[in-house]
Symmetry: C2
Subunit: 314 residues, 2 copies
């Protein structure tokens, strides 16, 4: 097997990236089409996105129904599957969601945690020293458990979702303080801070102990709050939206992948990483599931990055 | 009287800017404060904004109740009032609006057209040759009447509002084709095109005969659709929002003022003009009515422009 194509940084070998999160079978209904039991989950999207920049290591669990072709899809992009446990006692985490007209709202119609319910992330010994780590949107106490297993973290990105903001506030607060970067969307930042103004919300999160924060605003782009300043990035002008699922995870995965490729985590590199994240996420949403993401080429990602930079030029 | 301060372009005297639109007394209620019968209207906001770049000429009508101090407020910023008619038979256009929590929605609670109802814009002879013209959100047939009176237009910016999209589609279409730049918000572009995706909507407006289009997205910035490409601009990160009224008119007025100051209307100058428009609009929304706008200094506008450019730097 040939190794997967990557966007290389001249004179440097990319560091590995560890992603802990869900691997799921999604059933998705949009105003225009639908997909049944397609590969999804935060770790699947993030690892595929990261794979264009650095070698990813996935940590998660699947059930006895997990398909060989989905395993192959991940392996084909060079994703290390040693940390992907198979629990033969049950089925893979399954989610059914519906997007409404213009995709601004989605409802969960069914959620079966299945084997994910008992998931306790255990890193293979060889993975403990991974320098770049993404804590996908799993329970905050499990995110902390992962943090405790790391021996040499250089940069930890943490994500979360509404339900943990409501039910695990304390553990989540610890994750936020221990991570290097918190990535949330504008609904989540409003819930975390009680402030709907994105700028104020981001400032509050930093005041409450988050080192660096990114607030994602969907079609309106994202804002980075860093000790050296603010950075605002528009979204890529997607006109062929098919399925927004996984956009945020693709953004985070590609972002972290770029940091691992460069070996840098400063303000300027983070800004560049966000541009790559946006470019990759724009591909994800143009097709159902991980299809477009898994097949995208480095050339395509580079072209989107370039187009985005051109659009931003004053 | 000393002449008002302006952001000058070295070696060039700014061309005049003509603005046709409403002059109004607004009564505004926000979640945090309210103002009663304060100076407003598209032409007042746009002229004050333009005055930081070029000499504005206002064309509109007020009633017998129009206060001397409001006339003085406009004159103080060097706005030529020869085209501001006073109709002694009635009162000034009055609007009462209420903004809801987080300012995303506003309701009109009362609207008295008063002398504005019979308004027929008639340009003073000396104003007909004004090169830079803004058609504020008056009735499209009146906008056309203004266009017909111009003898040497170099650049015409047209604005509109929901009600004309619903009731004067044909005349509005003609305005859109004859103007050099259409400036609308995302709700209006959706209504005009039936397309809620801002990128698609902007492309459609150009396909339907608009030369150049700007779609404003409030706190999410604005997008420019030009034959040479797209340009996306974030909003200034306002954290002290007091009253969003007039933000769009300030944006348009400052934008046109910058074109008149430079004497250029190309893609690059339009992009710079949008940055100035955003800087000025961010000042407008930090206070009720035109107060902050009328008192802002060139230094303050320049500082916001600089801060905005810094935030956008990749």
């Amino acid at each position: 097997m040939t190794s997967p194509t990557r966007i290389k940084v001249p004179g440097r070998t990319a560091d590995p990236v560890l992603v802990v999160g869900s691997v799921a079978y999604d059933s998705i209904i949009t105003p225009h089409a639908s997909g049944e039991r397609i590969l999804g989950g935060s770790a699947a999207y993030a690892c595929l996105a990261a794979s264009y920049f650095a070698p990813p290591r996935i940590v998660g669990v699947v059930g006895h129904d997990f398909r060989d072709r989905d395993r192959a899809k991940l392996a084909k992009r060079g994703i290390d599957l040693d940390g992907l446990a198979t629990d033969p006692s049950g089925r893979t985490f399954a989610w059914r969601g519906r997007y409404h007209e213009n995709y601004n709202r989605r409802d969960t119609e069914d959620l079966q945690l299945n084997v994910f319910e008992q998931f306790k992330p255990l890193l293979p010994d060889a993975h403990r020293a991974t320098p770049y780590v993404m804590l996908g949107n799993i329970r905050p106490d499990l995110q902390l458990r992962v943090l405790d297993q790391l021996t040499a973290p250089r940069f930890v990105l943490a994500d979360t979702i509404d339900i943990w903001i409501e039910t695990q506030r304390e553990a989540l607060g610890e994750v936020m303080r221990r991570a290097d970067l918190l990535v949330v969307n504008d609904t989540e930042s409003a819930k975390l801070t009680g402030e709907s103004n994105v700028i104020v919300a981001g400032q509050r999160l930093r005041a409450h102990g988050c080192r660096t924060v990114i607030i994602k605003k969907g079609e309106h782009g994202a804002v980075l709050f860093h000790e050296e300043g603010l950075f605002t990035l528009p979204a890529f002008p997607v006109t062929e939206l098919r399925d927004p699922t996984g956009a945020g995870d693709s953004f985070a995965g590609a972002l972290l992948g770029h940091l691992a490729a460069t070996g840098k985590t400063d303000f300027a590199t983070l800004r560049q990483a966000m541009v790559y994240g946006t470019a990759v996420a724009s591909l994800t949403v143009e097709a159902f599931s991980t299809d477009r993401l898994a097949k995208a080429g480095c050339r395509e990602i580079r072209a989107r990055r370039k187009a985005l930079l051109r659009m931003m030029k004053v």
